[in-house]
């Protein structure tokens, strides 16, 4: 589908492209070095041969439980070895990804550009200078995954309140953790989620979540 654009990107910036593959749904994915991201994106957006004028979405990915939950031990596409080693009780780096879903209106083709991030260094250059819509998407990724977008004009939480601690879409955020803003009555209730009272602040996710049994609770809950 969009392999031709990836080849163009390889010709233009040979050292920016890490790998590329086609995903199951037919989407072409190209993984780009973080340092060359803005260059590659500027090329994809501005070159008349590619013309990806529309940034549909930016997505964050946390691969902490990827192997146990969805691949059954298989390795990630385009990478050697398992994504997650239970014995080490730590994710194989790079744990996070940021995926930019682009669409070329004139060529009628879509492309996914991906950046891989190690969890100790969650920094990505911003692309707000290329697409205005990246502003809120990057705030969203920052809110949910804690990825720092360098050069962003206003990197604040988008959806969660400022008092919120942590990043809720990370796989190690406790599933039933609540951070109420006003004092709540506590209902020790099995059907409802727990309140803020004792026991409600965080049921260990290793007990509630499929695929979390191998994770050391003291490390991630």
């Amino acid at each position: 589908m969009a392999q031709a654009f990836i080849e163009l990107l390889r010709e233009k910036l040979p050292d920016a492209v890490v790998s590329s593959h086609a995903e199951k749904g037919g989407d072409d994915v190209v993984t780009v070095k973080r340092e060359r991201l803005v260059e590659a994106m500027a090329f994809l957006r501005n070159d008349p041969a590619t013309d990806f004028k529309l940034l549909r979405q930016i997505a964050g990915v946390d691969l902490l439980t990827y192997q146990t939950e969805s691949t059954g031990g298989a390795s990630l596409a385009g990478r050697e070895g398992p994504a997650y080693e239970p014995r080490k009780k730590s994710p194989v780096e790079p744990r996070f990804q940021v995926a930019y879903n682009l669409y070329s209106i004139t060529k009628k083709k879509s492309l996914r550009v991906r950046v891989e991030l190690r969890s100790e260094d969650l920094r990505v250059p911003t692309v707000t200078s290329l697409w205005r819509t990246a502003d809120w998407w990057e705030r969203y990724i920052f809110d949910m995954f804690g990825v720092q977008f360098e050069g962003h004009p206003n990197l604040q939480r988008l959806l969660m309140y400022p008092e919120f601690v942590g990043h809720p879409l990370r796989k190690d955020y406790p599933v039933r953790k609540r951070q109420p803003l006003v004092p709540e009555l506590d209902f020790p209730d099995l059907v409802r989620g727990p309140g803020p009272g004792p026991g409600g602040a965080g049921v260990p996710m290793s007990q509630t979540h499929v695929g979390r049994q191998n994770v050391d609770p003291t490390t991630y809950d």
Binding site: L159, M160, Y161, P168, Y173, V175, R176, K177, R178, Q179, P180, L181, V182, E184, L185, D186, F187, V191, R192, G193, P194, G195
Partner: protein
Amino acid sequence: MSRLPILRPEGNVPESARLGGEENNVPVMLSRLEDSIGFFERNLSNALGWARKNSIFQYPFVTACCGMEYMSAMAGRYDIARFGAEFPRFTPRQADLLMIVGTINIKQSPVLKRVYDQMCEPKWVMAFGVCASSGGFYDNYATLQGADRVIPVDVYVPGCPPRPEQVLDGLKILQDKIQAQRHRAATVERSPEIAQRDQQRKSFLGKLLGK
């Protein structure tokens, strides 16, 4: 009078509901003065209850898809006006009934609490749909697990979303509750001896009746 058992979760009832209610049901010999006060209280309460239950001004706190069902219950086919609740007020200061229609998330809960605090007494709250009642299937980091964690709720209407019939049924249950509320009419203070005697009788009868 009441069709269904009156919903009275302890601690969630406004202060006015508890005054004098049980006393009037206790069959004790009364003095003439107390008898006449009781007669007056009962009739005044009935009249107030009748007036209040048939002119509920609701404040629809609509946050989610239940709002469509609220509109349906409001509009001609189901016609909530048949029960005297046809007049939504979009300011909490003029409303009697706070209808929490939809999911309340944690970011919104201070707003809900503030709206509730702005309403004048007497006031009632209806949780419209499972999200407002218990959080529904949004068992996650963002959602308040039931509006009654923050403010007292009188009637819970389950459903995702509830049918308009369910809403009307909830409204009628609320009407029963309003009708059953009792208010102290007299400012005459009972003497400490009589108050003590009443208390003893109440506790004795309470034990007897197993309450």
